[in-house]
């Protein structure tokens, strides 16, 4: 008997881990992107758990869209990283502060 709560707690743990990852790996933009992927995974798990337990397919539809968006995001994100590296010869986040006010 696996309760809904178990899935949600697993999602929460995964989410917390990815947040910690963002905080810890603040300099490495690639790891940052991977943490974001992890975060999305946690959210997706929650969605699917809810969809299953509430017997509502809408949750799965959401996950479907999230996957789509995440794929697009990753593609663009990585392309930007490549571009940044090409222009500035680094992907150190600390060096990318031109937008500061």
């Amino acid at each position: 008997m696996i309760s809904l709560s178990s899935y949600l707690i697993l999602g929460a743990v995964l989410f917390g881990l990815s947040i910690a990852g963002i905080v810890l790996n603040r300099r490495n933009i690639i790891t940052l992107l991977m943490c974001v992927e992890l975060m999305l995974l946690a959210v997706n798990t929650n969605f699917i758990a809810f969809a299953h337990y509430l017997n509502d397919i809408a949750g799965e539809v959401f996950v479907f869209f999230i996957l789509t968006v995440a794929a697009a995001e990753t593609a663009i994100g990585l392309a930007i990283i490549v571009l940044v590296y090409r222009n500035r010869n680094t992907i150190d986040v600390a060096a990318l502060d031109s937008l500061k006010g």
Binding site: S5, V13, M34, F64, L67, A71, A72, I76, A79
Partner: protein
Amino acid sequence: MTINMILEQIVFYAAAVTIVFAGIMVIGSRNPVRGALFLVLAFVASAILWILLEAEFLALALIFVYVGAVMTLFLFVVMMLDINLEPMKTRFVRYLPLGLLVMALVLVLVIFAVAPQHFGTAKYAVPQHASASYSNVKELGSVLYTTYMYPFELASVLLLVAIIAAISLALPSSRKRRLQRPGEQVQVKREDRLRMVKMQAEKKILPSRKWLKKR
């Protein structure tokens, strides 16, 4: 409790532990390549869980799309860029307490919210297993192409845009590569661009009387 249930529980916990372990490794690994590989592990374990939740289509999509495409992209990029990783890791230890604190806060808050008294089996009974004729793909598809028609179309357009954007961004330009330094560029002053040179316009050019006399 049937054997199936026990089996399910074993699968769930095994997968859960795998995911958490993989997650820790993703954020902790110094090498992005290894991190990406652990992420793949986390995805695969998640896919197992999703199958447990009868979302077969999405589980498979996760494997195909993420493990097959996205993570490959990651690995390509990581390997393509020659990144000096050492300075990036120096601050890892310094931020560890903060990271743990934030993680703890999130965990406490979320687990408090999703605690078994709210979402336990008592509140949300475990649903019956679907019949053998149930097709997750069919169910999802029937909703996706009717109720969620417009969002679906939108998502496809989004993907198209993303493809074009990614290509156009990463396309190597034919121009000579120029480095941008926006910070310095906005701070440029008139004096940097234009130098006023004081010239004595006439004095030196016209021969002075004295000079003439010498002649």
